[in-house]
């Protein structure tokens, strides 16, 4: 590496997406309670004399509802980060993204030697290659850390019908099945000093391109993280 991280920009945006997603969730909860409370008040009071004799009560109730709707509209994630990052999905060989992820994984030279890429297949997928490389890089970094930097970590790519499957497997302690869903949530971490966003970002990116993300048990009893993406249709 020449010191410049080519995935730095896309990583910042992915992190911002996770933060804003968590904020949206929290704010949407508050707005929902306020909106339902307004509905309750209207249902209970709209037939009373006070409501009917003072037009401002109905007007102000309408104002509360419309302002809550407007606030909810501001939470729409579409285009929220468009001014800082433009996504460019393109046909790209999945193996290229895998190799870029491994090349730029922040794991140190010794640990990098223990990362083995086994990609007997290659296929074209339609993604922003920076995003797919970022997702795989998180998985590689997690896997290396799970083995305390000793490896080995296996990164594989294979075709499964009209899907392309990327797996990153380690021989670490793994994650028990009942805790895997939780582990994929943003800001969940058991590791001091970590933000706990890697798996959440990998899942978001996989789903963004009509793919799937899952955690399982590797052949050595560690963790295997799996990204599955639809392969691009063959061009005539």
């Amino acid at each position: 590496m020449d010191g410049r991280d080519p995935l730095d920009g896309v990583e910042r945006v992915a992190f911002a997406e996770e933060v804003s997603s968590a904020m949206r969730h929290a704010v949407r909860n508050k707005l929902a309670a306020a909106r339902n409370a307004a509905t309750y008040i209207q249902r209970r009071l709209s037939k009373t004399e006070a409501w009917q004799s003072d037009a401002r009560i109905a007007t102000f109730h309408g104002l509360i509802e419309s302002e809550l709707d407007a606030a909810g509209g501001l939470l729409d994630p579409k285009d929220a980060l468009a001014h800082v990052f433009t996504r460019h999905p393109e046909r790209v060989r999945a193996l290229r993204c895998i190799r870029e992820a491994v090349e730029h994984a922040r794991v140190g030279a010794a640990a990098a030697d223990g990362v083995r890429v086994e990609a007997p297949d290659d296929a074209e997928v339609i993604v922003d290659p920076r995003e797919l490389a970022l997702a795989v890089r998180y998985l590689v970094e997690n896997a290396v850390e799970a083995t305390n930097g000793h490896g080995p970590v296996y990164v594989s790519g294979s075709r499964d019908g009209d899907r392309f499957v990327i797996e990153v497997a380690d021989g670490g302690p793994g994650i028990e099945e009942s805790r895997r869903e939780e582990a994929m949530r943003a800001f969940f971490t058991t590791k001091p000093g970590h933000a706990g966003v890697g798996l959440a970002i990998a899942r978001r990116i996989a789903r963004r391109y009509d793919g799937a993300f899952a955690l399982g048990t590797s052949p050595s009893g560690g963790l295997v993280a799996r990204i599955e993406l639809p392969t691009a249709a063959v061009q005539p």
Binding site: S21, R24, H25, A26, R28, N29, K30, L31, A32, A33, R35, N36, A37, T39, Y40, R43, R44, L68, G72, L75, D76, P77, E181, E182, R185, R203, R204, R207, R208
Partner: protein
């Protein structure tokens, strides 16, 4: 009277949505956490027509309650009241219905009645 198990870790949401549902003549049993919902479902004689659940509970995920609902009260329909518009919930298919938080209460009610009707006719998830 139809019984609703309302699972939400927000006190405000439980209070207000519960009140609206009670005004519709429904019996509402609140649960403030994943653990409390699990207790209510596992209690002897547990009977619910609808389980309304938030996805992100402080101590667990609403989607992880669904298998327990299917086991303990198989006739009940599970409705996700979601605070998230993100990919993770949009593609979650374990629920019988999903409605975004903040949707007009009349829409929530209409969807709930649709589920109850489906339940009475013995219909499954479409």
């Amino acid at each position: 009277m139809k019984r609703i198990l309302l699972v939400d870790d927000s006190d405000s949401n439980r209070l207000v949505l519960g009140s609206l549902l009670e005004d519709e003549g429904l019996e509402v049993v609140p649960a403030a956490s994943f653990a409390q919902a699990r207790e209510r479902l596992a209690a002897e004689g547990a009977a619910f027509d609808i389980v309304m659940v938030d996805q992100h509970l402080g101590d667990g995920l609403g989607s992880n309650l669904v298998p327990l609902v299917r086991k303990q009260v198989p006739a009940a329909k599970v409705m996700l009241i979601s605070g998230s518009a993100d990919e993770d919930v949009a593609k979650n298919t374990v629920f019988d219905a999903t409605v975004p938080k903040g949707r007009d209460f009349s829409d929530v009610l209409a969807l709930m009645h649709e589920l109850l009707a489906r339940s009475q006719s013995g219909g499954g998830t479409p």
